[in-house]
């Protein structure tokens, strides 16, 4: 069995675990994904010491692009301390020795599951998203051969009918995460299960967003300065989660994505989903500077 503690000494694993040829393949596919924004590019997705479905897509993308000078941040649902984030961070640190950080602004690569950090990302940063289901049309069409054809012909009418029937049935579109969005006016993507709150952050951003789906073996990308438009009817505009009148219980921030927590007595509490941002706001309010680092 693979023992991570002894990788460097005994097994002599390559930098960032993957061998150079595998990395090269992932890089090639990533470049193709960047060249055709929103298009899902198949890749080999070999076995890793983490089971498929636990972030192996994002992990392989990170392994392929990371260098010894990179500063890494890994988050799970916005939190640096989530079990998935901790495991992935440990594996990457063990096999690369790179510096890690909690501070969003310090990181050069941010690998994330289901959130985009609240702090605006810069052009010199790359956000790598772990994707469970890369196919936005999976809602409406089970056959992969069919969905490929639908993408090729830009036939997204069935997704539109899905949205239409959603409004008929519920009075509004009920998709919470995975909101189908059109990239560069051409390809429909599943922006991974980020909440609606984060979808506008993809639009015309300064940052490169890479999406890796390990189990489904697909890589796709939203390059910087590329339009990402959530599907919306002319008269039923897309809207993000509404946290009006609520603030984070911990840091007091408003205007951040909040987790809803039941207090066990019938009430609800709201706490920031982005743990680093919450820490930073709290530290600033309390006058301390201990906002990040390990």
């Amino acid at each position: 069995m693979l023992n991570l503690r002894t990788i460097e000494r005994k097994h002599g694993y390559n930098f960032a675990f993957l061998d150079e040829n595998t990395k090269r393949e992932v890089r090639r596919k990533t470049l193709k994904a960047v060249a055709i924004p929103g298009h899902q590019v198949p890749f080999a997705s070999p076995e890793l010491p983490i089971a498929r479905g636990w972030g192996t897509g994002g992990l392989q993308v990170t392994m392929a692009i990371i260098g010894p000078d990179d500063v890494l941040k890994v988050i799970d649902q916005g939190c640096d301390g989530g079990v998935n984030a901790v495991n992935i961070r440990k594996l990457l640190v063990k096999t690369t020795g790179v510096r890690t950080t909690f501070a969003t602004g310090e990181a050069t690569i941010v690998q994330t599951r289901h959130r985009i950090p609240e702090e605006k990302l810069r052009a010199d940063q790359i956000l790598v998203l772990q994707v469970p289901i890369p196919e936005p049309l999976r809602f409406v069409e089970a056959s992969m051969a069919k969905t490929r054809e639908m993408h090729a012909e830009m036939d997204y009418s069935r997704m539109w009918v899905f949205l239409y029937e959603n409004i008929v049935k519920w009075g509004e579109i009920t998709i919470g995460a995975r909101y189908p969005s059109l990239v560069n006016g051409r390809y429909l993507i599943d922006p991974s299960p980020i909440p609606r709150w984060d979808v506008p952050k993809l639009h015309m951003a300064d940052t490169l967003f890479l999406f890796g789906a390990g189990r489904e073996k697909r890589i796709y990308a939203v390059p910087p300065h590329t339009s990402v438009e959530p599907l919306q009817f002319d008269d039923v505009p897309f809207r993000v989660e509404d946290f009006a009148g609520r603030a984070c219980l911990r840091c007091g921030a408003t205007g951040t994505f909040l987790n809803e927590i039941f207090d066990g007595r019938g009430g609800k509490l709201y706490v920031c989903s982005d743990s680093y941002n919450c820490d930073a706001v709290k530290a600033k309010r309390e006058g301390t500077t201990d906002g990040g680092g390990q």
Partner: protein, 282 residues
């Protein structure tokens, strides 16, 4: 002949559809003369060969023929469900009627199909999705034609379904639970949704009981009168053709053997096969 009329909606030239590899003598050895459409030398099926006609503005052209005569394949080719082997088709509403549709890319074909054509299949479940609501099915056609206004789609779907006698209260129900006649009427509403200049009807009354048949045919006739949509109606039933079609083409073994005014075809058939067909009428 082709130069005589420039008011065509759809012009088809020498359409050929062959299933199978084919050989040099396929076309010579098949057809009404040999009473077969299977090439005896290579076994390929010549479903349609050398089919040419003009569909004029606002007319209904009937295509009649026995099972296996190639009439459904012809319509399926024109609606791009099948790739043609050879031939040309021109649509007045596309590229000024000078661009061969069969040579267009898949994406262009889809555009033409979504914006300029409607199709009513023999089996309603080919044309509608039973697990989209009736309104959703109509909406799909509107959405493919790039109409993205929710209230507008709702209003238009309600109007079309009312027009095809689907009660307003069933608009948000699933056609899976509708009767065959109702499903067919949903399909017609869907086909009409984007106001296409051209509508294909493929055996639309088959499998419906007589009173429902009559109502569906009445509906088609009324719609044609109101909207002036040109239609290509395929049927093996001369009664349906007599009621719907202004002109009729008779197909046999993949060829058009006779084309003329419906009355003339029924009263004074020229081709031997047409005579047989008319005599067989109940």
């Amino acid at each position: 002949m082709a130069a005589a009329n420039d008011a065509f909606v759809l012009r088809v030239n020498r359409l050929t559809k062959r299933f199978g590899a084919g050989c040099p003598s396929c076309y010579a050895l098949t057809g009404p003369a040999g009473e077969t459409n299977i090439c005896p030398r290579c076994g390929s099926i010549v479903a349609c060969h050398d089919v040419s006609f003009d569909l004029e503005e606002g007319e209904i052209l009937g295509i009649v023929g026995e099972s296996g005569s190639g009439k459904s394949t012809l319509v399926r080719c024109l609606y791009f469900d099948e790739e043609v082997t050879d031939g040309e088709a021109f649509l007045a509403a596309y590229g000024g009627g000078r661009v061969n549709l069969f040579a267009a890319t898949a994406q262009k074909k889809r555009h033409v199909r979504n914006h300029l054509m409607g199709m009513v299949y023999q089996n309603p479940l080919l044309g509608i999705k039973p697990h989209f609501t009736a309104g959703g099915n109509v909406a799909e056609k509107l959405l493919t034609a790039d109409i993205y206004n929710y209230a507008g789609i709702r209003t238009r779907a309600a109007a079309l379904l009312t027009r095809t006698e689907i009660p307003r209260g069933r608009m948000d129900d699933f056609p899976a639970y509708f009767s065959g006649g109702m499903q067919q009427r949903v399909q017609i509403a869907k086909a009409l949704a984007n106001n296409p200049p051209l509508l294909f009807l493929d055996e639309i009354t088959i499998g419906l009981d007589l009173s429902v048949q009559a109502r569906v045919l009445d509906l088609v006739k009324e719609i044609q009168r109101e909207l002036g949509i040109a239609m290509l109606a395929v049927s093996h039933d001369l009664g349906v053709i007599r009621m719907l079609a202004d002109r009729t083409a008779v197909m046999k073994n993949g060829r058009i053997v006779e084309l003329g005014l419906t009355d003339q075809i029924l009263e004074d058939p020229q081709h031997r096969y047409t005579q047989l067909l008319v005599q067989s009428m109940l």
